[in-house]
Structure formats: C-alpha cells, structure tokens
C-alpha cells in the first residue's frame, strides 16, 4: 500500500525553511536565439567578446615577454614533486597529468567521505532538534549556531592544532587493537587479495546486477511493488555466499596486512593522514550544522495533520514515517541538500591550508613550478565544475523520480 496525501505539501513554517529554500530558484530556460536580435544585445555581447579578446591578447604578449609559450604540452612533462598520499601509484617521475589525476581522485575520495559524515551528523542533529527532549533541542541549537558563525578555515586550523599537539608521537601511538592513532596518521589493517580476486568480485557484481535488473523491470510493469521480504533475503544470502563459494573453489588467497612500527613510522596496513581526518571532521561538523537546519526545516514544514491523518487511517508509527512523512520530507529537502553537497565539494579545496594533496593544492604546486596559471586554472575549474554538475544531475534525476511517483 502506498499512502500519499496530496493536499498539503506547501511549506508551512516559512520562518524556518525560507532562508534555505530561497537559493534554489528553478533554472529558467534561456530565451530562444534567432528570431530577431536587437542591436543593443549584439553590442553588449560584442563588448564582452572584445574584452575577452583584449585580455587574451595581453596574456599572450605578457607570456612571450616572460619567455613562456602557452599550451597544454607541459602536462606530459615530469612533475618532479611528491604528493602526501595518493590512491593510485604515483612517483615524482610521473607526468603532470598523472599528478592532476591523483589530486582529483583525492578530492573525490575526500568529498565522498565528507558527504557521508556530514549527512550523518546533520540528520542526527536535525532529528534531535525537533525531538522530544528539550535538553537535546538546546544542545542541537547551540551546535548549529556555533558552526554557522565560525569560518571553516578557523575550525580546520583549530582542529589541526589540537590533533597535532594533542595526539601522541608515532612511537607512543595509541593502539586500539590493530589500529594505531598518532599525530601523523591513523594506521589500520587492510585485507589484501591474492591472485584471481576478480572472480568473487565479479560474482558479487553479478548478483547486484541481476537484482537491479529485476527491480527495473518490475518498476516498468504495471504493478509497482517493492521487493518482497523473501526475495530480499535471497539476494542478501547470494551476495554473501556466492563470493565466498567462488573464493573457496578457485582458491583465492586472502591476507591481512597489519601495520607495524618500523623505525620512525608504520609500515604495512592502510593509513589515513591526520590532515585527511581533520578535514573530514571540519567539513563534517561545518556542513553537518547546515544540513541539520535543512532537515529541521523539512520536518517542520510537514503539517501535524499529516501524522494525525495517518494515525486516523490506522497506520503504525513506523508506517507513518515510511509512507507519509519521509517521502514528503525527502522531496522538500533534496534541492537544498544538493546545494549543501555542491558547497561541500567546493569546500574540500580548503585542504590546501593543511597540506593534503587534493586537486586544489596539486594545481597550486604545478602553477608555482611551471608558471602556467591560465591553463592550470582552466583545468582545475573545469574539473570542479564537472564534479558539481555530475552531482546536481544525479540529484535532479532522483528528485524528478520522487515527484513523478507522487504525481501518480
């Protein structure tokens, strides 16, 4: 059964939501070109074009005066500098293109972890701030107020100082079982797969693909039911058993690499630098506060009548949340949430202040080395724009799906 009460999806408590709802104006379609362009229009466009051409002319003149030729050839030269941590194998002898890729991957990794953390923090505090406990509400309000009024750079620097001064040196690292926490990094054991590890992965992937296909076909057919419980159990079991079985059959080796203290640092295992953790904490708390406000606004915007009507229809508390509250809140908060996520992606660039090798700090180093500011900034800005555009496209699609479902 699906309950959608269509009448009251209007925003009721404007004082809470409006501040966060205002920035999401629908991108109005640009007017068609062609029928009749006015002279003034062409004149202004020509003026802008002229300024751009003049600027380019000056750039070329300045560069040739400094003995630098413009172009993207430098991308294939040897970078010659090291990055603090990279997700792909990277050496200083690799090309600039590869170091940009390493920086981009670091940014994507950092942004996705921050996204999850800030969402968890934000939803938790958002729920507490409309929850039943007055003490919890007061604490949540204080948290939001504090982080709305502090610059993120200051938060980052404070947390960094606290982490570097507060945590012990590598040799006296705090150990939580096989996890070691020091002021340089957190080292933890990782699983290393031997040869043929792709087989169990492929098996798991196949299960996911089959489940997704079934769901897609189901959605296209007339009756729109979610997967039944038995089906879900079967899928979950297959997801666990198939990879394990294939692993046993093909004899894939699994090793665990545990970090060990050797000399001045840990070797083996995986590690995340203090810088990384501090940035995740900063952006998690900073955007968590703003997401908490978005969530609170969304929850407050649902009229009490909705809950009461659901109760009158005999729905249990859990069903009310699942079928009445959540769909409406989700549709309401998705656009401002997207705003937050886009801001978060952009804000990962403050990593440069503590020396984490993300896209921004890598491109800063490259500019200093090669003096190709125009080319590098075009690349960097393009990549950030692309990342933000990808995310916005995804959320827009999801939002369209949610609204379509409601309209049926």
């Amino acid at each position: 059964m699906r309950f959608t009460i269509r009448k009251c999806t209007c925003i009721q408590d404007a004082s809470v939501t409006q501040v966060y709802m205002l920035p999401m104006i629908p991108p109005s379609a640009p007017p068609p070109i062609g029928t009749h362009l006015r002279t003034a229009d062409i004149a202004v466009a020509g003026l802008v074009l002229g300024i751009v051409v003049l600027a380019m002319w000056n750039i070329l003149a300045n560069m040739s005066a400094a003995g630098i030729s413009p172009g993207f050839d430098f991308l294939w030269q040897e970078a010659g500098f090291d990055v603090s941590e990279a997700l792909i194998p990277y050496q200083p002898s690799d090309s600039y293109a590869r170091v940009i890729l390493a920086g981009l991957l670091n940014t994507v990794f950092l942004a996705s972890i921050c996204l999850v953390v800030s969402t968890l923090v934000g939803v938790a505090f958002g729920l507490i701030s409309v929850g039943p406990s007055p003490v919890g509400r007061a604490v949540a309000m204080a948290y939001v107020e504090l982080f709305r009024n502090l610059p993120k750079l200051l938060v980052l620097l404070v947390l960094y100082v606290v982490a570097v001064n507060g945590l012990p040196h590598v040799r006296q690292a705090i150990s939580l079982g096989p996890i070691y926490l020091s002021n340089r990094s957190v080292a933890f054991p990782v699983i290393i797969f031997g040869e043929g590890a792709w087989i169990p992965f492929a098996a798991a992937l196949a299960v996911v693909a089959i489940a997704a296909c079934r769901k897609y076909l189901r959605r296209r057919s007339a009756e729109a039911h979610d997967n039944s419980r038995t089906e879900r159990v079967i899928i979950a079991a297959a997801l666990v058993l198939l990879p394990v079985l294939t692993m046993l059959i093909f004899g894939v080796r699994i090793d665990v690499s545990v970090p060990e203290l050797k000399g001045f640092d840990f070797s083996g295992g995986g590690r995340l630098s203090t810088q990384f953790l501090v940035i995740v904490m900063t952006l998690g708390l900073y955007h968590g506060a703003q997401i908490a406000e978005v969530v609170r606004g969304g929850l407050k915007a649902i009229p009490v009548g909705q809950t009461e009507a659901a109760a009158a229809l005999g729905l249990k508390r859990r069903q009310t949340v699942r079928f009445v509250i959540l769909p409406q809140v989700l549709r309401l908060i998705l656009p401002p949430m997207n705003n937050q996520y886009v801001n978060l992606i952009k804000n990962t660039s403050i990593a440069i202040a503590v020396g984490y090798s993300d896209l921004m700090s890598v491109s800063g180093t490259i500019i200093n080395q090669t003096f190709k500011p125009l080319e590098m900034m075009l690349i960097t800005m393009g990549l950030y724009l692309g990342l933000c555009a990808c995310l916005t496209t995804l959320t827009n699609r999801y939002h369209a799906r949610l609204t379509k479902r409601e309209g049926r």
């Binding site: 920035p23 229009d41 003490v135 204080a142 502090l150």
Partner: protein, 356 residues
Amino acid sequence: MAARAGNRITSTVREAFASPLAAFLSVISAVAALALFWSAVNWLVVGAVWPWQAPDVCRTSSGICWPFLVEKTRFILFGTYPFALQYRPAIVSLMLIVLSVVTCRRLAAGGPAPDARGLALVWFAVIVVAFVLMGGGVFGLAEVDPVRWNGLPILLMLSIVAVVLAAPLGILLALARVQAGYPLLARLSAAYIETARGVPMLTVLFVGIFVLPLTLPEGTKVSPVTATLVALIFFHAAYFAEDVRGGLLGLPVGQGEAARALGLSYWQATRLVILPQALRRSLPSLVNSTIGAYKDTSLVVVVGIHDLTATARMSFGDPVWRNNALEAYALVGLWFFLSCGFLSAIGRKLHKSARS
C-alpha cells in the same frame, strides 16, 4: 514570579523524561554539554594564567595564557603594520565597523534603504579614505607597502569593500539574466553566474592573483590586495545575482507592465518600481550570502594575504609562544562569532519584517 519560573522548570524536566527516547536523548545531551562546559571552565578559569602572572607560568599550566594575549593581541589585530603608525589601521577598522553597523541597522529598520544616495556617497568616501590611510604616500602620510596591511583592517577591507561593490554588480547580472528580449545578454550572464557558483572560491582567488595581472597591458603592476579584491568582487557578485533573481522572479509580472504602461522608461521602471520590491524580497538571502562571504574572506591566507586568521597563526610561530595556538584562535573565533551573530540578528529581523 518565582512560582511561575519553578513551574516552567518542572514542566521542562517532565518533558525531558516523558518517554524513554526523550530521557535517553536528554541524558546523552546533558552529559555531552556538561563535559564541554567543564573543559571550558577548566581552560578559562581553573588552569588559567592571569595577566599579572609571569609568562613562564604558562608552560606548566593547562589553561588559557592571558600574558600571551596581553603581549600579542595588538600583533593579531594589526600584524606587521609599522608599530608607530598603527593608529591608521585602527581608524580604518573603526570607520568600516561603524559604517557597516549603521548601514545594517538602517536596512533592518525597514523601508528600501532610506536615503540610499547619501549612504552610497558616504560609502564611496570611506572606501577611498580607507585605502589612502592604509597606503599613505600622500598628505604627508608615510607610505606603507600593501604587504604589511595585516590583520583586522585587511579582513574588513576585503570583506566589506568586496560585498559593497559586488552588490551593484550582482544586481546588474540578475537583471541581465532575466531579460527575455535579449537572449545573448541573458545567456552570457547565466553562463557567468553558473560558472562562478560551480567552482571553489580558492580557484577564483588563484585566477585573481596569477591570471588577472597577465591580462593587463605589459608593465602594469597590480598589488595582491587589489587582485584579491577584484577576484572577491566578481565571485560574490554571482551569488548576490542569484539572490536578487529570486526576488525578481517572485515579483508579479504586472508590476513591470503597469510601470511601463504609465510611460516610465525601462530604467525608470526598474529603479522606481521593480528593484525596490525585488530587493526587499531578497534581503534575507542577501544577508545570508553576505555572512558566507564575510566568513570565507579568511581563505585569502592561501594566496598570501595576512588577514586576522593568518596573523593569529603567525602570533604563535614564535618558539616562546609555541603552545598558545588556542588562545590566538579563540580571539579570532570570538570576533567572528560576535560579528556574524550581529549579521544573523539583522537577517532574522529582516526576515520577520519581510513576512509581516
């Protein structure tokens, strides 16, 4: 009175333990709040080294080190500006703060910026005076290199001047973007706004510092402060443009049509009818963007401008004061908390008057 207060306390306590979930949340939050409060008290009172004590005591204590703040507050505020001339940045800071507070209070008092022309003139004069006072070189004032404009005055100049100059640019961009009759103009404006909003502020600052000087004719010199200011103006303008566009789109179409039917020209209609209403509608979100712009100004440290956050970081670089980072950052944090709190209060007031 006392009985009523007592009643309220009892009802709050009852609410806090009304259900198992409420009780659980109350206990957890209370414990967290008390723990934070206790460590704050420990730092500020119990372990504090008071201003009249010797600075050496700080090394053995765990609390706030007042001697550090006594010694370094002036440095954090004005940085490396020549010591004897620091009355100049002090005057500039004071001027900008007073004028901003006056402007904000006038806006919050209601009406579409009463006496806007007079205010704009004062702003223009103050901005010019600020640059002259900081830089010197005229009227017998000793010249000071922009590299030494540090601390609070540079933070205020960059943030306030950028916001003040970005606002008109943002309004023009928003107006351009909603021109249905001028497709090229609308597209250009939209493309600019979306690009600026899709990239981090740091990339725009880098463009300002590294690319902007290249676009000028050979031999022209731009100081990093000017380059940063220009970058900030163009960056914030895109955000303001979206806020203003929100107000413009919320306006009934009839307003503009009626104004034109009365025989007003486009600019007259815009200035007298459209903008006053649209701006009043978009003021709350404009204030929000302003707070964001003000806070983000601290990022200029990355391009080598020493604002308040940067001077705080420099103040404990001295080996003697190595352990006093928190004191310096606390001072900066307090300043931001108070100034942003003031702006937020103005925003709330505007919001209330916009609704009624």
